[in-house]
């Protein structure tokens, strides 16, 4: 769909385009979509405009433009360590959840054994539960054993939805690889180790990349679990943003906005990265394979 030639051929095929233009219901649908996007642009735009504005009160646009809020936010909220923590936490979560999740999804995809469905349901639960529900008991336990308030506690808490997430995205991915391929490699004389390094690993890389990026995006954006377990030295960007917002009035509104823009920028970079590897529907269709 991205190639220009294909785009042209679909454009010359009149049927779908005309179907959208012709009917009033279609106008309504497009109207809704446009209304949604206009408001969305307003939401994001107002934050961006405000972060560059001098004074903005009861006018369409700020009275002047400045970049100083960024410097202020950077200094006042100590954003550099926060960003470093965010990156460290997210990458650790990605690495651990892939390491733990992929072997498990391999077994779930390839084998049938007693209790398989029960186990699958167990892996599904952390995703179906609101993070606050299990986050509060989890934080209590992590405080009890001295993990919470530190880097390790934040990573552990974020792993709870991430490991199941990797399993739920990787299991269907592995299922669609013909199991005869592994058997063929075995018949060619490859042992389990070499089947994994020579055959499975190259075939799994796209799926693992997609799962990693999805986990990365989710972890950077994960508020509740990090909020419940983070200490002063283990705050991620989204929690720092929340803290600065709920403490509004102490800081200038614009510097909070500047921070929000930094957060958005980080997320957008991740998003662009993510969309290079995964289809947009994949970002949300996380429970495609359900135990029936």
């Amino acid at each position: 769909m991205t190639a220009p030639t294909i785009a042209r051929t679909t454009a010359t095929r009149p049927r779908p385009v005309r179907a959208i233009r012709a009917r009033p219901a279609a106008w309504l649908v497009w109207g809704l979509v446009i209304f949604f996007f206009v408001n969305l642009a307003g939401v994001i735009g107002s934050v961006v405009v405000s972060s560059f504005g001098e004074r903005w009160f009861d006018t369409w646009l700020p009275q002047g433009w400045t970049g100083r809020w960024y410097g202020e936010a950077w200094r006042d909220f100590g954003l550099l360590p926060v960003l470093v923590t965010t990156v460290e936490v997210s990458l650790s979560v990605v690495a651990i959840s892939v390491l733990v999740g992929v072997p498990a999804s391999y077994v779930l995809a390839r084998r049938s054994f007693p209790g398989r469905r029960l186990l699958y349901l167990l892996f599904l639960l952390p995703i179906l539960m609101p993070p606050i529900t299990y986050g509060i008991p989890l934080a209590t336990v992590l405080y009890k054993y001295g993990f919470a308030g530190h880097f390790s506690g934040v990573v552990l808490a974020n792993l709870v939805p991430s490991v199941p997430f990797v399993i739920l995205t990787m299991t269907p991915f592995i299922e669609q690889i013909d199991p005869a391929i592994e058997r063929a490699a075995r018949m060619c004389g490859a042992g389990t180790g070499r089947i994994f390094t020579r055959i499975l690993a190259p075939l799994l890389v796209p799926g693992m990349l997609a799962a990693s990026i999805l986990v990365l995006v989710r972890t950077v954006g994960m508020f509740e679990l990090t909020f419940l377990t983070a200490g002063p030295d283990s705050t991620t960007l989204v929690v720092a943003l929340y803290n600065s917002m709920s403490a509004a009035g102490i800081r200038a509104q614009q510097s909070v906005d500047a921070m929000a823009v930094i957060y958005t920028g980080t997320m957008l970079v991740l998003l662009v990265l993510a969309l290079r590897v995964v289809n947009p529907t994949q970002l949300v269709a996380r429970v495609k394979e359900e135990p029936e």
């Binding site: 769909m1 649908v29 529900t133 336990v141 792993l159």
Partner: protein, 292 residues
Amino acid sequence: MSRPALTHRLAERGIDRQILLLVPAAVFVLVLFVYPFCYGLGLSFQPERGGPLGAYRAFFTDPYERNTIWTTLKLSLPVALLNVGVSVPIAYRMRGRFRGKRLLTTLLVVPITLGTVLTAQGLLNFLGPAGWFNRILIGAGLTDAPVRLTNNYWGVFFSLLITGFPFAFLLVLSYLSGIDPTLERAAATLGASRTQRFRRITLPLLAPGLATTFCLTFVLAFSVFPSAVLVGDPAGETRVISIAAWHAGYEQYDYAKASAIAIVMGLVELVVIAITLGWRATLFTGSTGGKG
């Protein structure tokens, strides 16, 4: 040369050394999800006062606490229903190929990655009394005084809509493109009109997917926390259950009560999901003959 009988019998049931690959993931879920959950459950039955059920009694007898269930459902159910309901006609229009589909789906991913915190900040700016939205309304002469859309029910409602709608839409779209379009064409050759084709063929095949989508958007909306605090009225009309749980745990330091509320929250959510999935189980959930 003959193998021990036990390993042989187990191998026949699908249990051998490969199953060990599951162990790390299973241990993870047990230690970080099941154990804290059970710990929280235990904790909820050991309040400082009022016997084993004291924490639950305290929650259910105090209308200020008890009503949080109703407040949460009043927010999350309409939002989830609206998200799914609006997604269906839009996704139905937009299946098949047209120019800019990839761009549209990509744009829709943006609010998902923004997360609730940034959306809240944006809504405060955009929908606030001096925000662009109210300026447009006043400018167009639709209203004299600014409409109050933030720091109340509607602020949270819009925030959930913005984060939830793209999610619902992309899920519905992926379910819809999984339905073989020739089925509708077959119905057309049998004399079914456009509406009949949708009502009698596509909708029944889509219904299980809608149930799943509803569940997932409901979970998202039900776990509302940051936006209820930031764009809502966290002490009044948007005092949702997760705020009550957080308040009990991190401001009153009453972990028994916090755990009890978390458990109640999980149960209420599971009841809604169970009802939806129970309804879904009565539907046809076989192959829909399409791609994906």
